[in-house]
C-alpha cells in the first residue's frame, strides 16, 4: 500500500504541474497566428546564403532587411548582413522581434525556427540544399513567386540556363572524356580527403561538359582513400575549398602530399581552384562555377 504522505506529496507535485500547464493552455494563449496576408512582403529576412543571392538576383534586394553572417554576396547584401545572425543557431524570437519580417527564407531548420516563425504569422520558405540544377531553378522561381518577382525569377532562370548551355556547348569538345577529381576538404595531412562525386550538385555541372569524375558515389560526398585517388590518376584536380586563410587547401600543399606527385593532375600542374562560396551554394553563381571549370579545361588543353 502506498504510503499516504508520499502519495499526497507526489499528487501535489503532479497536480501543481498539470494545473499550471492546463491554465496556460486553456487561456486563449494559443490563438491562431494571423495568417500572413501580406501578398508582397516588404520585409524579407534570409538566413540562407544561396537564397540571399537568389533574392538579389531577381530584384527583391531592396526589400531585404537582414541576412545571415555567411551571406556575403552580392555587395548589396553586405549592407544588411548581420554578423550575429547565424544560420545554424537561429532564434525565432530574435528574428521576429528584431526584424519584424513578413517573409523568412531558411535552408536549414534548427532550433524549431521554422515552426516558431510560422507561429508568429510569418511566411517561411524552407529551401534546403538543391540536389540538382532543376531543383535550384525551382527554388529561384519559388522565391520569385513569394516576393511578387516571379517574372524576374523566370527571366533569371532562363538566363542561367542559356549561359550554362552556351558555356557547355563551347567547352564540350575540349572537356569531354577528361577525368577529374574535385576535393572539397582535407581534414588533416594524412587523413582521407572528401570529394564531390559525379552525383553531387557540382558534379553534375562537370557532367554537362562530359567530364568524368573518379567517383560516382551516390552519397555525393564520399571520403576517398588516398590510394584510390592515386590509383585512379585523374587528369585534372579541382579544389572547392582553397582559401588558405580559412584553412583551405592550396595546390602547393597538394603537391607536398606523399605519393601524390605520381598523379597525372599533380605532375602536370593541373590543379585548379574554384570559387569557394559559389562551390558550396546552388544559386545564380552556378554560372561562375561552370565558367571556371570551362576556363580550367581550356588552360589544361593549351598546356597539354
Amino acid at each position: 500500500m502506498i504510503d499516504r504522505t508520499h502519495r499526497r506529496r507526489t499528487a501535489l507535485a503532479g497536480a501543481a504541474g498539470a494545473g499550471i500547464i492546463a491554465v496556460v493552455i486553456a487561456l486563449p494563449l494559443n490563438g491562431q497566428a494571423a495568417a500572413s496576408s501580406v501578398k508582397c512582403p516588404q520585409r524579407i529576412v534570409s538566413i540562407s546564403p544561396t537564397a540571399t543571392e537568389d533574392l538579389f538576383a531577381i530584384g527583391a534586394g531592396p526589400r531585404v532587411v537582414a541576412v545571415d553572417s555567411d551571406s556575403n554576396y552580392p555587395a548589396a547584401a553586405q549592407r544588411v548582413r548581420k554578423p550575429g545572425l547565424v544560420a545554424y543557431t537561429p532564434s525565432a524570437e530574435a528574428i521576429l522581434g528584431t526584424y519584424r519580417p513578413n517573409l523568412v527564407i531558411v535552408s536549414y531548420d534548427a532550433n524549431h525556427v521554422v515552426e516558431g516563425l510560422r507561429k508568429g504569422g510569418v511566411r517561411v520558405l524552407f529551401e534546403n540544399t538543391a540536389a540538382n540544377l532543376s531543383g535550384a531553378y525551382n527554388q529561384i522561381e519559388a522565391i520569385g513567386a513569394a516576393t511578387c518577382r516571379l517574372g524576374a525569377a523566370r527571366a533569371e532562370v532562363g538566363s542561367i540556363k542559356r549561359q550554362i548551355a552556351s558555356v557547355a556547348r563551347a567547352a564540350r569538345p575540349l572537356a569531354a572524356g577528361l577525368t577529374y577529381y574535385d576535393e572539397i576538404s582535407a581534414p588533416a595531412q594524412s587523413q582521407n580527403p572528401y570529394a564531390a562525386s559525379s552525383r553531387s550538385f557540382i558534379g553534375q555541372l562537370f557532367g554537362l561538359l562530359g567530364m568524368r569524375n573518379i567517383t560516382n558515389d551516390p552519397s555525393g560526398y564520399p571520403a576517398l582513400s588516398q590510394e584510390a585517388i592515386i590509383a585512379s590518376n585523374p587528369q585534372l584536380m579541382f579544389l572547392s575549398d582553397n582559401q588558405p586563410l580559412d584553412g583551405g587547401v592550396t595546390p602547393k600543399s597538394v603537391r607536398s602530399r606523399t605519393g601524390w606527385s605520381s598523379i597525372s593532375a599533380v605532375a602536370h600542374n593541373a590543379i585548379y581552384g574554384l570559387n569557394d562560396d559559389a562551390a558550396s551554394r546552388w544559386g545564380p553563381r552556378v554560372t561562375v562555377l561552370i565558367r571556371q571549370i570551362a576556363s580550367s579545361v581550356r588552360t589544361y588543353r593549351r598546356q597539354h
Binding site: 500500500m1 502506498i2 504510503d3 504522505t5 508520499h6
Partner: protein, 266 residues
C-alpha cells in the same frame, strides 16, 4: 521456537562444493561460533543461513524450511552483519540504523512511529544516542561496528548472524562488541551464529563451537571439547597448544620452531 536445524546442507559455487553435508542444530537462544581455517566455508554457510545463496539439503528455522519462508518474514527473523559491511559515506547514524527497519515498512512506505521508537531504543541500548546525528564515515572503527550491529538489531530478529564481527578491532573494542552482542542476546533471547578467526574470543563468548574444515563439520560441542590440541593441530595444520584456564577459558597458543631456551618444555 527459532532453533536452527541444518540437515546435510550442501552449498556449491559454480562446480565447486564449498560446504558439504553439514548437519547440526543450534538451540534457540544459543550462541554457536563457526571456526575453521580460511576458505573452509564459514562465510558461505552463514550466507546460506541468510538465504543469500541456494543450498542443498535442509535448513529449518523453528521447524519451518528456510527456503520456503516468505522474503519479508525471513528478513524479520534473520539479520546478518557482514564481514566488510559497506556503509555509504555521509549517511547519518540514525538514518543508517533506520534502514534495518526495512522489513517492516511497506514497499513505497515510510518509517512509522513504531519504527522510530525501535531505532531510538536500539541506539540507547548500544550507547549510540549521542552519535545519532553524526555521519557514519566520521566514526571510529569500534563505533562503526556498533552502528552496524545496531542496524541488525533494529530488524528485531530472532536470529543474528555475524561474519567476523571483530576483525580490525583492537582487543578492547573486540571485547566491547562481543559483550554487547552477548548482552543483547540475553535481553532479546537471540539465537546467534557467528564466524571468526579468533579462537580464544570465540571460546570466551560462544556457548558452542563448530569447527568447519574443507566444507565439512569436523567437530562440534562445548568450547573446551572442540578446542583440543589434537583436533586443532590436525585441521589448522600448524603446531599449537591448547590451554584450559581453571575459570573455564580456553587459550590457543601457537608454537614456533623450537629455539634454545632455558624454559623450553613441551
Amino acid at each position: 521456537m527459532t532453533g536452527i536445524r541444518l540437515e546435510r546442507v550442501r552449498v556449491a559455487r559454480g562446480d565447486r562444493t564449498v560446504v558439504a553435508d553439514v548437519s547440526m542444530s543450534v538451540p534457540q537462544g544459543a550462541w554457536v561460533c563457526l571456526i575453521g581455517p580460511n576458505g573452509a566455508g564459514k562465510t558461505t554457510l552463514l550466507h546460506a543461513l541468510a538465504a543469500l545463496i541456494p543450498h542443498g539439503g535442509a535448513i529449518t528455522i523453528g521447524g519451518a524450511p528456510l527456503a520456503e519462508m516468505p522474503r519479508r518474514e525471513r528478513a524479520q527473523q534473520i539479520a546478518l552483519v557482514q564481514q566488510d559491511a559497506h556503509v555509504p559515506t555521509g549517511v547519518r547514524v540514525a538514518d543508517y540504523v533506520m534502514l534495518g527497519r526495512t522489513p517492516y515498512i511497506s514497499y513505497f512506505g515510510r518509517d512509522g512511529r513504531d519504527d522510530r521508537r525501535v531505532v531510538a531504543e536500539v541506539l540507547t541500548q548500544l550507547d549510540l544516542l549521542d552519535l545519532a546525528d553524526r555521519q557514519v564515515g566520521q566514526l571510529s572503527g569500534g563505533e562503526r561496528q556498533r552502528v552496524v550491529v545496531a542496524r541488525a538489531l533494529a530488524q528485531a530478529p530472532s536470529i543474528l548472524l555475524l561474519d567476523e564481527p571483530t576483525t580490525a578491532l583492537d582487543l578492547g573494542r573486540q571485547m566491547q562488541v562481543l559483550e554487547l552482542i552477548r548482552e543483547q542476546q540475553q535481553a532479546r533471547d537471540l539465537t546467534v551464529v557467528s564466524a571468526t578467526h579468533d579462537l580464544t574470543l570465540a571460546a570466551a563468548y560462544a556457548d558452542r563451537l563448530a569447527l568447519i574444515s574443507c566444507g565439512a563439520l569436523v567437530a562440534e560441542g562445548m568450547p573446551h571439547d572442540v578446542l583440543t590440541t589434537a583436533t586443532l593441530g590436525e585441521h589448522y595444520g600448524v603446531p599449537l597448544r591448547v590451554i584450559h584456564d581453571p575459570d573455564g577459558g580456553v587459550a590457543v597458543i601457537p608454537l614456533r620452531a623450537p629455539t634454545p631456551s632455558p624454559d623450553a618444555t613441551v
